[in-house]
Subunit: 273 residues, 3 copies
């Protein structure tokens, strides 16, 4: 199943419009290329409608949100909705500032999103639940662990139904739900948290997967989460003495680049609840 | 000939003002340093005239063009023209949106450019010819191949004469013409297309070459194209099992850093038509 | 002493708010993670006060300053001052344009800074002394060498007293003074100048050190300078044939990631004047 999802990305080369932050944008572009998609970045209001019209999917990331780019995000989002393109929202820092929280909530209200991907604190903030965002990282009090898993799965399913889109919560354990089923994913390495932007990269990959697999969005989203986590495992296995987070960053993108559908199928660690 | 061009860059350390996109800007800065130049980035209208006055050349790249940065581009460009500095335009995504196409055409009309470097779809768009830009990549229908080479050379020569500047079209085969002669260059690797920004990097290098070689602009531009392609070949030869596009990106910049004039002279694959 | 400074960063994981340039921002984020801190980037005026309130320190870098971001810088700075957070200013390109010089001087006047870190030309410009900024690099005429060391130490001490904050001048020899004492630091490699943003990275690290070591700011600032230089030495020792500035960049961040307090203590090369 996941094998097909990846092969569809590599075969269809989806063109992805990214309105993303300037911190991790280069890695997002390279990882979209690595997984088989083709990225374009554009956040100027005058530019985004033409660009989105050329593309197949839209990735919105508010990591360095500017007041002046909000119009561009909405114009791109509305056009993507008109064209039936999948939209992924990465609500970076929702809960860390009113500005980010309010913008993310408006986007969820006014656009028809395919998926929202964030850490547990960001997602709890958007759900109006407790949510203790610590900057751009999840608060430890919110963490999804084996102990809190049942409650977290129930929460993600319920929020997915309410939001009307896939909700993907990533952390030590990842949860991806369409409101009915929930993938519980155990790929990845804790050291990925020492690299800026692995979450942003995943949102880019997820947009490519959703775009190339229109008929199975839940599987596509889950496959992208497994791919990123598995790439983190493969990249880590190639680390040598003296290597650190900069080299690890490159090795993860390299692992995405080289991963085959079969390797993804075989390496994905998940259960369906 | 190309040997001298590179040695002039390394000896003169041209200071290059870059108004470029936020996707690939870090790689552009590092590759300009790698080839022997010194980069500065500034796109604020209040800042650009002072910065350009300190520099020797100007690199304009519209990859993430904003309405608010257009004034800065024009102010920098006019000052560079007053000072006789070479200007390179990289019309990223011309043809992909009206906003980009119109801005690129205005820049070509209002500024005296030294060179325009783009993929074949972008360049055909600017020439008012057919041009099927697919996002930021060339459309396959436009590709310069051995079969279409004669026509493409004639087109590039004619457009160079009309535009009054060097036109550099990069792809599987690269063409660099001043309207009279045309370098047909066969360096490079197809895998370079899996890295974001190799074109942006080349435009930065080209600006450094043009600035350090004021008396032989066509040779300087062609030498920079050969350098980037040859670096792609050398970088590829150092790839190891498990490496992908992230590592390849680093190896290409490393190869630029280590290339000598003699290696460039020896490795450059071109004919003059 | 330096051992404790680093261990405090790793133990306290200071959250650092960065308003920085888009050229080197990704490396700044990764190096803050590497040294043990946690970075957030935000420059939107509507966003910065909430973000700074969550954080422990503020890193201001004017490398790609925009008129529209100045309000955000001041709002963040005033809030950081209210909260008693350390602020580091990196006046990239002060002296290269009136816009940058004026903004840096206003920031020094209106905010209570903990430290200003720049190259000698930038710092001389801010001191109203001669200062021959050559773009974003120091002019060779200004360089701090063994011959000019006594004068340079006296200058940095005097400017530190006048400015009321730590002044850190980095170059072949680094000087860090609180107006009374001056650390003279001889870590580092000249090849670090061939990588864009090692100065920006240091300013990020310095902010993390100052935030995690509120009781010994001079030692903390000096320790961060030694760490960056020592990482440059360690990274260089791992370079292999064919490696260049792109790989060197990664190896320096990797070296920061792996450095222990004891290694820093042992590898730091400094005298106190």
């Amino acid at each position: 199943m996941f094998k097909n999802c990846l092969e569809n990305v590599r075969g269809r080369i989806p063109l992805i419009h990214n309105i993303t932050n300037y911190v991790t944008v280069n890695d997002v572009a390279n990882v979209i290329l690595a997984c088989g998609g083709s990225p374009i970045m554009s956040d100027e209001a005058e530019d985004v409608e033409d660009i989105t019209s050329l593309c197949g999917g839209l990735n919105i990331n508010i990591g360095t949100l500017h007041k002046t780019s909000i119009e561009g995000i909405f114009r791109a989002g509305r056009r993507a909705n008109e064209l039936g393109h999948p939209i992924v929202l990465d609500p970076v820092g929702a809960g860390a500032s009113e500005f980010r929280t309010d913008t993310a909530l408006s986007l969820m209200k006014d656009l028809r999103l395919s998926a929202v991907r964030g850490n547990i604190s960001e997602i709890r903030t958007l759900a109006g639940d407790r949510g203790n965002t610590k900057g751009v990282d999840a608060d430890i009090a919110d963490a999804v662990t084996e102990d809190t898993l049942d409650e977290a799965v129930a929460f993600v399913k319920a929020f997915s139904r309410k939001a009307g889109c896939i909700i993907a919560v990533t952390g030590a354990v990842d949860l991806v739900s369409d409101g009915i089923s929930c993938f519980v994913i155990r790929n990845g390495r804790p050291e990925m948290g020492k690299i800026t932007g692995t979450g942003c990269q995943l949102s880019g990959i997820m947009t490519a997967y959703l775009t190339a697999n229109p008929d199975s969005p839940l599987e596509a989203a889950a496959a992208s989460v497994c791919m990123m986590g598995l790439a983190g495992e493969i990249g880590w296995s190639r680390m040598q003495k003296g290597d650190g987070n900069a080299t690890y960053r490159n090795r993860i993108i390299d692992a995405v680049y080289n991963m085959t559908g079969e390797e993804l199928e075989k390496g994905a660690k998940y259960e369906l609840r």
